[in-house]
Amino acid sequence: MCGVAGYLKLKDGPEPDPVILNLMASQLVHRGPDGQGFYVDDTIGLAHTRLSIIDLEGGAQPIHDKDERYWIVFNGEIFNYIELRQELINAGAEFYTHSDTEVILQAFIKYDLDFVNKLNGQFSIAIWDKLDKRLIMVRDRVGIVPLFYQLNKECLFFASEIKSILAATGNRKLNIKALDQLFTFWAPVSPETMFDGVLELSPGHLFEYKNGQIDIKRYWEWSYDNKTEDDFSKVDEKAEELQSLLTDATQIRLRSDVPVGAYLSGGLDSSIITSIIKNNTNTPLRSFSIQFEDKGLDESQHQQLLIDSLKADHSSIKCSYNDIAKNFLDTIWHTEAPILRSAPVPMGMLSGLVNRMGYKVVLTGEGADEVFGGYDIFKESKIRSFWAKNKESVIRPLLLKKLYPYLDVSPGKAQVYLQKFFGVGIDTPDLSYFSHLPRWITTSKIKEFYSESTKESLKSVNSFDSLESYLPDYVKKYNTFHRAQYIESKTLMSGYLLASQGDRMLMKNSVEGRFPFLDHRVIEFGSGLHPKFKMFGLQEKFLLKKSMGALLPNKIVKRYKQPYRSPDIASFINDDELGYVSDLLSEKRVKEYGYFDVNRVKFLLKKIRAGRAIGYKDNMAFMGILSTQALHYLFIERFNDRITV
């Protein structure tokens, strides 16, 4: 991956200034430490910071066509570039590099906007047609690679990270509407970001500027079919098809001119990827993992099982409570958004290890849970739908006890409270976000800490309504399971897992993540499966296990799905508490920044210091408040001290 940035002069705007362009690129050096390149004419400036992975000698950007009419900057990888290059050569295209970037440009020249449908990869791309003064920007289908923009009357600014845009424009204010969305769905609803005026180009979308007009359209969508067949006589055939698809998706993600490693969490998904690398490729298996001081969260036993079984050359890093506190501010600088749990911090430490070991690329198991039905929220939704069909049943809600057994303080301990918690919305099973109501209502409890001024700013805002209007009508016709998959992929996965916990934590240490489960062919295969192939009874990822289970130790396949977690409050409030924690949560700062109620924050801290905050809700409130305060501190108060000039 790399960093891209640029700005386009609109009708009455000033001509692009190389100094500003350089300032924008300077904020993205961590994304591309191996080189920088610029293109400037009287209308546009393009900048690129390079992490060199393919065509180390010839791949410097911006890249242009033979006549220097078209110019491109690109962040990402096109995994089918070898085949696509040959197709273009056969059609008469000429190449001066061996990079995937030039393949994109030639594909655009040949197919115009349809070029994007030819790409199998992860990308944000900007292509400038100097003759027609036309700018095309595209982002990959699911949101692996970021791309942000800000539009004013004079200019369009765009960049891989928001800080690059803020450095150029100087306009920095937190977006309270997006904060409210994040305090509901864990991420702003695309295209909103945490900063006023800055939008993201939504995953699967294409942006075109031509003749002074901007047109943004969707070119790809998570798409499900309610009529998929549930014929179990075809289960072996489908399992074989999936195995072949996943193997190919992994193999093409090993294409690289630098060595490629893999994350190994101890869970099913990364085990599948590492096993494919071991068994189906010539790539030596180099793996990396994180371990925790907190035994309840540590998965090193399962990791070791895999390391022994695959004979992997493995490195791990141990994360203590204090490591999380020490790395937290730097993490928020990169997430550019509040976080409701500390989980991104260890992921940033892990990519640091990968970087120190001399690796630039890792494969991970991200996406399997969304595509093949692995999360407990799908189970939860299935049980609640079953219960909703007979609300008076005493037996049906007993199934709720099957949920979340890995939590120390599981909601499953007291049945009557469990029913109350998961019974939210039980009368409205047709509501488009029925599956996610319990989670979102719990998350929304953070809003009880809002200050009066925040409440005032949000008095006409309802985040649930904003999501409802964001969901296309056809999604409302999906069955409950598919709707849950759609919502999970479009909110938590693209907005948080691939962003704050994904790209930003990898790229802060110049490491590129590659995700075979998010190959669009794998997603489309998964979307075409009947829900029963994903969750059979309450067995999650049924077909995936059937397809790939034989490659893995039985203990890994049979293991109860345990999501990746890291310690929250315990990392910050302890005997070695760091000064910034009490400072950011002090009455003075809370009042000065104005987002939260001073008194309520004080009582939350009192509860935490008394050791009484044991639940999910208090942990999330603490993380949400601390990270919002940190975001303000870093981006509003101290921005000019942090940026690279």
Binding site: V409, P411, K413, L418, K420, E448, R600, V601, F603, I614
Partner: protein
């Protein structure tokens, strides 16, 4: 301080994060008002077990005993009797 006042103060400070007495009526249902969720009720149980030296049995973890200040006070009186 009476058990009622102690419990009010505990619930106000730890679940509503305020000392404003007007925010909680003694008959308010913790569940219906969204004051506590299933993990919150486990915290309340831990609190009353520690403060009043009692043991809450599984069969006693029901709203009739735990779901309002009034219910808690009555339950504690019964346990202490």
């Amino acid at each position: 301080m009476s058990a009622e006042m102690e419990l009010r103060s505990y619930v106000l400070e730890n679940y509503l994060f305020t000392d404003d007495q007007s925010q909680l009526n003694n008959e308010d249902s913790f569940m219906d008002k969204g004051i506590v969720d299933s993990t919150g009720i486990l915290e309340i149980i831990t609190f009353i077990e520690d403060e009043y030296d009692i043991s809450v049995e599984d069969s006693e973890m029901i709203p009739e005993n735990l779901d309002s200040i009034n219910n808690l006070v009555k339950y504690l009186e019964k346990k202490k009797a």
